[in-house]
Symmetry: C2
Subunit: 98 residues, 2 copies
DNA sequence: CGATTATATCGTTCTTCGACGATAGGCGAA
DNA sequence: TTCGCCTATCGTCGAAGAACGATATAATCG
């Protein structure tokens, strides 16, 4: 157990890779910036901002949510998205530690 | 030209997405950590550390190099890889700015 | 020179991603 | 309840990613 670099996957590597994958598309980065700018939440305005089909945007949002970078709260017939500070903080930690 | 959010791609989004894509695989994250640990350079030891075929590792290194996160210097018959501080710093900047 | 070692590249196969249209479900308003 | 808006999900298709073995290139050693 004094091996220098254990051959096992190493959880932190997987974690960072997963978060990075969520960032690995300009549309998703744009969504994050959008949510950062407007402190509050945004509904379908995201669809209007990105120039993509609604279903495509929905998929990007799903990916960001699955990665823990954003969260969506149901607000009547629409959904209010906002940054998920904890997930974002974890991402920053992991990157800063590189 | 007073549009709030111009529909153009926005270079910074593309940049961050590209960098993130380079990080979007555990093997590549691991390489970065490896190079961070051993301050100096490493040759084919990377192949030994990752449990992947040499050609696969070579491809991962190519991707990291293309993203500007590492650099390789020819050292006789082998190649000495090290972190590319500037690229890494740019990545950290962009992520921290989120 | 010939052998050895370290890397890169090529070609293939399989999987995953990204985009779209079509459609279904939920909620508020009329 | 019926209509209309917002969102999610499904199915499909083409593009890109990931892995490998085989092979090519380059430099050192004997």
């Amino acid at each position: 157990m004094s091996r220098r670099t254990p051959p096992r996957p190493i959880a932190a590597d997987e974690d960072l890779a997963k978060l990075a994958r969520a960032l690995a598309h300009p549309a998703r980065v744009r969504v994050l910036r959008l949510l950062a700018r407007r402190e509050g939440c945004i509904g379908c305005d995201i669809v209007a901002d990105l120039e993509l089909a609604q279903s495509t945007v929905s998929e990007h949002l799903r990916i960001l949510k699955a990665a823990g970078l954003i969260e969506g709260e149901v607000d009547g017939p629409r959904i209010c998205y906002r940054l998920h500070r904890e997930g974002l903080a974890r991402l920053k930690e992991l990157v800063a530690a590189l």
